[in-house]
Subunit: 332 residues, 4 copies
Amino acid sequence: MLVFAQFGAGRIGAIHAANLAAGGAARLAHVVDVDAAAAAALAARHGAKVSDAATALADPAVGAVIIASSTDTHAALVIAAARAGKAIFCEKPIDLSLARVDEALAAVRTAGVPMLVGFNRRFDPSFAELHRRIQAGAIGAVEQVVITSRDPAPPPLGYVKVSGGLFRDMTIHDFDMARWLLGEEPVQVFAQGAALVDPAIAAAGDIDSAMVLLRTASGRMAHINNSRRAAYGYDQRVEVHGSLGRLIAGNRVATTVEQADAQAVSAEKPLHFFLERYAEAYRIELAAFIAAVTAGTPMPVGAEDGRQALVLADAALRSLSEGRPVAVSDCA
Amino acid sequence: MLVFAQFGAGRIGAIHAANLAAGGAARLAHVVDVDAAAAAALAARHGAKVSDAATALADPAVGAVIIASSTDTHAALVIAAARAGKAIFCEKPIDLSLARVDEALAAVRTAGVPMLVGFNRRFDPSFAELHRRIQAGAIGAVEQVVITSRDPAPPPLGYVKVSGGLFRDMTIHDFDMARWLLGEEPVQVFAQGAALVDPAIAAAGDIDSAMVLLRTASGRMAHINNSRRAAYGYDQRVEVHGSLGRLIAGNRVATTVEQADAQAVSAEKPLHFFLERYAEAYRIELAAFIAAVTAGTPMPVGAEDGRQALVLADAALRSLSEGRPVAVSDCA
Amino acid sequence: MLVFAQFGAGRIGAIHAANLAAGGAARLAHVVDVDAAAAAALAARHGAKVSDAATALADPAVGAVIIASSTDTHAALVIAAARAGKAIFCEKPIDLSLARVDEALAAVRTAGVPMLVGFNRRFDPSFAELHRRIQAGAIGAVEQVVITSRDPAPPPLGYVKVSGGLFRDMTIHDFDMARWLLGEEPVQVFAQGAALVDPAIAAAGDIDSAMVLLRTASGRMAHINNSRRAAYGYDQRVEVHGSLGRLIAGNRVATTVEQADAQAVSAEKPLHFFLERYAEAYRIELAAFIAAVTAGTPMPVGAEDGRQALVLADAALRSLSEGRPVAVSDCA
Amino acid sequence: MLVFAQFGAGRIGAIHAANLAAGGAARLAHVVDVDAAAAAALAARHGAKVSDAATALADPAVGAVIIASSTDTHAALVIAAARAGKAIFCEKPIDLSLARVDEALAAVRTAGVPMLVGFNRRFDPSFAELHRRIQAGAIGAVEQVVITSRDPAPPPLGYVKVSGGLFRDMTIHDFDMARWLLGEEPVQVFAQGAALVDPAIAAAGDIDSAMVLLRTASGRMAHINNSRRAAYGYDQRVEVHGSLGRLIAGNRVATTVEQADAQAVSAEKPLHFFLERYAEAYRIELAAFIAAVTAGTPMPVGAEDGRQALVLADAALRSLSEGRPVAVSDCA
C-alpha cells in the first residue's frame, strides 16, 4: 500500500485526499498546509497527521507526494520531493516560469523519480474514449481539432492577478488537450484575445476571451476557443476531424430529463463546475498515478507534458502581445 | 454513527456494503451469509465480523439491518429484525407470497421500526428529478405514463424458475414506478405476455416479453413494456404526459463520444447492466435510509410500497392467465 | 399524363391539388364540392373546371379520382368512381360503418380498379425508412411496437360528434401503423380510455385519451397511446423492438437551433400540426399513387388496409365499452 | 407577375428555374446558356424561350435576371443587366477580382437597380432562426462565432484550378456567415491552410483544409474550419456565444430514425450534398428576392455583401501566403 504525503488542504487537496481514501490502494499519512486549521480538518477526516514539509518528506514510509498547494510553491516542493526520492503527483502548472519548471524537471530527472502533472482532463471518460478511438484508427489520420473550453464565471479578481494570465491558467489545459489529440507537436501558435466579459480583467492586464490557432509541422491544425463566462454552465467539448470521420465529446449533465412544454423541448444544462464535471477524471487520474508508481510503468502524463503546455501558453502570450504567429521553438 | 448488520454477501450485498463504507455516516459490524467464504471476504473488506443471524440481531450496538439475501429468506429476516427493534432496509420483493408479506409487515408495524423496501430506481437521479418536476407542477396534472424496462439478457434458467415470474421479479420495479409517477393508485391491470426470446422460458412456465396497461379511478393510465433481452443494453426509460407537457427520462451512457463516419453518426449504447446504470441510485438510496433512520423521518419508500407493487404483480399474473383485466382490489 | 377529378376542395383537398400540380406527372381537370366558392377557388388556382360528380366521372379523359370530401360521402363516391372505371385515391376512413365499407370494396373489386386508402403516415420519410430497415432485417424479428400519437389540441366539438369517435377518427392511423410495423395481423385488442382533456368530449360520448394493446397470433405486441392535446405540439413517434435491436422514429422540427442559457438547453418543439409534419408524406403518397396507376403495379396501401384498420377501431370501441379484450375476428 | 430571364442552365440554374416555377409569383421567359441543349431542355421544362443575352435583356417584359452561369461571366452580365434596368439575382462570387467586382457594383449603383448576391445560407431556416434570435437578444451581446463548414468530397481538379482557391470558392460563404453573425465588420484575418486531403490540390496551388480567425474592432472573434472532405457527409454548423448564452445550428438529416443494436446507437448522417441541405434555402432566397423586387424593399443580401466577403477571402489568401494576420483594410 502506497503511503502519501499531501501538500495543500484546499479545494483540490480535499478531492485528492477523498479519492485516495476511497481507492483502497493507498493511504494518506501526512497533510501539510500553511493553513493549520484546513490541514487539521483534512488530516482528521482521513486518519493522517498534520506535518511540516520537511517531516513529511523525511518519513521513509512515504512513497509518494501530492502537490496541491498554491502554484508558487509547486516547483520548490517538486525539487524537495524529488531529492527525497518520492514519486510526485503535481497539480498544473509546475510553475509560471519556464526557467523554474526546467529547474524542477532537472531535479526530477536527476532523482529518477516518476512524476505526473495533473492534466486531469485526459482522464475524463469521454475525452479518454475519444482519444482511444483515435489511436484505434476510428477516424483515420487526424487533421483538425476544435476545443471549446468555457468557464461558468470568472474567478475572483485577486486570483486573476496571480494566475499567470488566461493562457497559463486556463488555456494550458486546452494546449495539453490539443497536443494529445493532434498526435504531433504544434510548431506555431497564433492567439487573439480580449476582455469582453469584465473590464476589470482588462484593467488587471489579462483577457477573458480568446481564440487560438495551432499548426503542426505536417499541417495538422487545432483551434481553441475560451471564455471566462458561460451563462449555461461549464462548456467543455472536443471535436476531432480525421480522414475517415469525426469524433465529438460533449458536455455532461446531471440527469437525462427532457421537458417538453408550451415553450420548448429542454434538457439539463451542462454540469456547472469543474469539480462536478471532472469528478470522475480526478478519481481515475489518481488511480492511474498509483497504479503506475506501484507497477513501475510510465506515467500517463509526464513532467515533460507539463512543460510543453506551458511553452505553448508562453507562445500564445507572445503572439497576443506581438500580434503575429509565434514559432513554438522560439519559446521552448 | 449508525451500526449495521447485513444479511447477504452476494452481488447486491457487496454494493450496499461498499456504499455504507464510503458514505461515512454508518459502519458495518456484522455480515451474515450461508456462504461462509463470501461472508468472510466481505466482512474482511469492511472491517466487520462474520456472524450468524441471531448474534447479529442480538448485538445492541446494531441499529439497522440490510437484508440482501435470497428472496425466500427476506420475510423471516424482516420479522426477526423487527422483533429485535432494528431499522430495516430490505431488498425487493419482501416475499413472493402476499400472505407472507402481510405477516412481515404486521411484525414491522407491531415493533414500530422503520422499514425501506429497495425500489432503488426511485433514487436514480434522472427518475428522481422527473418526479420532483411532476410534484412541482411542471407538466400539470399527470394523465399518462409510459415505462420502458428491458433487460440486456435473460437471467439463468435456474433463476427464472425461482424468480416468481417476470411480473414479480422484473416488472415489480415498473409497477412501483407507475404508482409513484401516476400519483394515484391503479385500480385495474391488464397484462399480455409471451416467450418471444427463449422457448426454454416458456417451458419453465414463465414469459420473457410483456405489455401491461394500468388504470386509476380518475382515468389516469400507465403502460409498461418489458423484455428480458435488448441487444443494445439495458433500456430503462420513463415518459410522463400531463396537461401542460411531457417529461422523459432516458438511458445513461458511459461517455458522450459521438462518432460520425461513412456509415452513420453513432453514440454509445446505454450502460449495459443494472449495477452500472443504478450505481448512483443504490448509493443515494442507502444514504436516504440512513438519513431517515438517524433523523426519525418517514422512509422515502415504505413497507407498504413493497406490498402494493406485489399486489399489482399478482393482478398482472391473474390477468395474463385469465385473459381479462383484473381489479386490483381482487388481489389485495 | 394522368388526368384527375377531385372531390373535396377543403384543407386536405387543397394539399392534394397543390401536390398534383407540382408533381408534373398528372393534371387536375375537375373539382367537385358542395361549397361552390371553395370549388371555384381551387379550380381556378390549378386551371381545372368546377363540375358536378356525374360530369366529372363521365369525362373519359379522367383516369383517376381523389376523394377528399367529408367522410359520409366517401363510400358513395368510391362506388360511383369504381363503376366509372376510375383509379381511386380515397382519404381515410372509407366509411365509419364496416358494412358500408364492404359495399364500397365490393364495387371496387367488381370494377377491378386500383384503390389507395390515404394512410399518409406510411409515406412519412422517417416512418418509411424505419419500415424499410425492419424489412431489411436490421433489428431481426419484430417483437414489440410502441406508437405515440398525440394531437396538439382537440378538434371542434362539432367535429368530435360526427367523427365516429377517437378510435375511428384518430387511432385508425395508429392501427394501420401497428399492422404495418408488426408484420402480422393483430388478433386481439384491449383498449382503455377517458376524457381527461375536456369534459365536453365526454358529454359528447367520446374520449380524448386512450391506451391500447394489440396482440398477434405469434405473440407480437403493440401499444398505442393517444391524447387529443399535447402542450408542446404534435407528438408522432414510433418505436419497434426486435430480436437484434430497436428502431425509433421521432418528431420533426422546423430548425436545428439549440439555445443554451441560464435556464436550460432547449431545442425547437415538434412541428405543430399534421399539415406541416406530414407535408412530405402527402406529397410522396400522391406520387406513389400516380406511379402505381401509371405502371399498373400494386397500390402501396390497398383498400383492404382501409378495412382492416377500421376493424381494429371497432374492436377497440367494443373493448372500451365492454371492459374486456376483444377478438379481432369478432369484429371482422 | 415578375418576368425573369435566366443566365445559366446548369445544376444551380435548374434549381432556381424550378423554384421560380413552383413559387407562383414569377415566370421564366428566357433561358440563356452557351450549352444550347441544356438551355433548350430547361426552357422546355418551364415554358420559356431559348434566347441570347442581348435578346433576353432587350425584352421589356423582363423585370429581373438570375445569373447562374460560370463565375467568369458574372460581372459582365451584372453590368449588362444593370444597364438594361433589370433587378439582379447573382450567384456568388460576383467575380474573383475585386477590381472587376467594383466595376460591376458601380454599374449597379449607376443604374439604381436592386441586386441580391446568392449567399443562400442566410436563408437556411436554421441559420435564419439563429440569426433572428441573436437580433432578438436571446444571447445578449455576441462575443464569439464558430463556423464549421466541410464538404463531403473535393470538387474535380479542373474545377479547383479555376475556382479562385478555397477561400474565394468555399470559405467565402463562411466569411459572409461570420460577418452576418458577428454583427460587426472583421478588421483582421489570420488564416492557415494545407492540402491534407489530396496532394493534387497542393500541386494545383490550392489548399483543401483551413482554419481562420477573424477579429472585429470591439474584440469580437470568429473561427472558421474548412475541409474539402468529410467522410460522413456535408458538415455545416454554426455556433454563437454571447453574454447571455449560446446558440447552435446543426446539420440536417433525411429522417429521424435512430437504430440501437449490438454495435451502437446510430442516427442518420447529415444530408450529403449542398443541393439537398440547402434546398429550402434556395427556395426561400429566390422568394425573398422576388418579394423585395416586387415591394421595392431593400435586398436581404446586397451587392456590398458580395464584395465584403470577397475582401475577407483576399485577406485570408494574403495571410496564408505571408504567414501573418492581415488588416482587412489593406485588402479593401
